[in-house]
């Protein structure tokens, strides 16, 4: 399995990728087969997004593309042309953390923290979409993210807290 942090191979034809990442217009020329994950991490240096399984199973690479969750290990960078990408680095406004980031800290929902950026992006999409969230909807929204440390209880608590906080005026 290729190492997501290994240098990008050179023999593959290149293509231009132009998109908006966390609000900034970006344009880079990359090999056509570059996954979005490698584009974010190795080309743009946005290493908040993690990679582990590279097969859509763990969710650690989750980002938002036009507001919708995507496994960046399975999307090609070129497929993101003209799209709006939000990564974990794009959530805080200045030193003001996003309410979900804040809740993860408050409830101790991160241990090693490797799964955390992906989980927060999945939670962000859920909270963007729905003013009212049932327990079922919450669990479904997070079902593509694996955490091997916490046992999930603190994560669910963090998302619920963030939801409550964002409802209160």
């Amino acid at each position: 399995m290729p190492d997501p942090s290994s240098p990008i191979p050179v023999e593959i034809p290149t293509t231009q990728v132009s998109c908006r990442v966390n609000g900034a217009e970006i344009s880079r020329t990359v090999p056509v087969d570059t996954p979005l994950l490698a584009f974010l991490r190795d080309v743009l240096g946005l290493t908040g997004t993690k990679g582990a399984c590279l097969e859509g199973e763990c969710g650690s690479c989750t980002v938002l593309v036009d507001g919708v969750t995507v496994n960046s290990c399975l999307m090609l960078a070129a497929q993101a042309n003209d799209r709006n990408i939000t990564t974990i680095e794009g959530l805080a406004v200045g030193s003001e953390l996003d309410v979900i980031q804040d809740s993860f800290i408050e409830t101790g929902a991160a241990q090693c923290g490797y799964c955390t950026p992906g989980l927060i992006m999945s939670a962000r999409a859920l909270l963007n979409d729905q003013p009212d969230i049932s327990e079922d909807e919450l669990l479904t929204a997070m079902e593509g993210n694996i955490c091997r440390c916490t046992g999930y209880a603190s994560i669910i608590q963090a998302v619920k807290r963030a939801h409550r906080e964002s409802q209160s005026p």
Binding site: M1, P2, I12, P13, T15, V32, D33, P35, L54, E55, G56, E57, G59, T62, V68, T69, V70, N71, C73, L74, M75, L76, A78, Q79, N81, S122, A125, T140, A141, E143, G144, N145
Partner: protein, 277 residues
């Protein structure tokens, strides 16, 4: 090269020109997994993800036509129960947001959940080429053997046609959770005209139907005796193998159990007057 056509005509022309030199990609949930595993090293892509027309669903003369670019997330809101439940069982939400019906069919995995649901509904698939135009074939004829399909080198899957309001049921046995390759999967459906379809996943080289067993169901009421006969024939007709996930004997037994359960449930739905909730 990375081609990102925005009209279907453009996509078909590219497919015609480039043939096997270009890898067709939509959601990438099979293609990029294979690339990450080193099993596929494409140098040229035709990306279908911008073809909004391929995502359109419409009704046509008693049928429902689903564009090949319809995502699992979209099918997760379908009124077709088997298709809805099958779609919601795929991956996590981020997979369902991009994975498509056309990709599921083209991949022709024996475990293809969308394929099994659609086979039970006697779906037809539309294959289109720039030079020869469109052709519709029964989905059951699309699957030829293990990962071998009727798709020609210049064709794209453009749509799937199913009856508008079949009753249908679907179930898969596998590990519970987001990431879930099934051990056995079964779907049953009944059209307004009473025609019943049965389909199975993971018990053959491709998603399969059991025409002999289905032929017992020619409009007669679904009595427990009839359902038993059908289930017994199903167990003979499926072609499971032994692998690390389960034995052939177990799979055969589960096909029998599932088809019995789903047909009984379909019948119970009738008694209650359920449309297909």
């Amino acid at each position: 090269m990375f081609h990102q056509p925005i009209t279907i005509e453009e996509a078909l022309n590219l497919r015609n020109e480039l043939g096997a030199d270009a890898t067709v990609i939509n959601g990438g949930t099979d293609v990029v997994v294979a690339m990450n595993h080193g099993a596929l090293k494409p140098q040229c892509f035709i990306d279908l993800s911008r073809l909004t027309s391929l995502r359109k669903n419409r009704e046509d003369d008693g049928s429902l036509i689903l564009g090949a670019g319809t995502t699992f997330a979209m099918m997760g809101r379908s009124h077709l129960r088997a298709l809805r439940e099958a779609s919601l069982s795929v991956g996590g939400p981020a997979i369902r947001n991009v994975g498509t019906l056309g990709g599921n069919i083209a991949t022709a995995s024996p475990a293809g959940d969308g394929c099994v649901a659609l086979l039970a509904m006697n779906a037809d698939v539309q294959l289109t080429s720039a030079e020869r135009g469109e052709r519709w074939i029964p989905l059951v004829d699309f699957f030829i053997d293990y990962r071998k399909t009727a798709l020609a080198g210049d064709e794209l899957i453009t749509a799937v046609r199913v009856p508008k309001d079949p009753q249908s049921r679907w179930y898969k046995i596998g590990k519970r959770g987001a990431v879930n390759i099934s051990l056995v999967c079964c779907a049953v459906s009944r059209n307004a005209n009473g025609k019943i379809g049965l389909a199975f996943g993971c018990v053959g080289p491709m998603p399969i139907t059991t025409p002999k067993a289905a032929s017992l169901l020619n409009g007669d009421p679904l009595t427990p005796e009839l359902i038993d006969d059908v289930a017994n024939l199903v167990a003979q007709e499926v072609r499971p193998i032994d692998d690390h996930r389960g034995s052939a004997t177990y799979r055969r037994a589960m096909c029998k159990t599932l088809v019995k359960r789903l047909l009984t449930d379909l019948h119970a739905g009738d008694q209650k007057g359920d449309a297909d909730a």
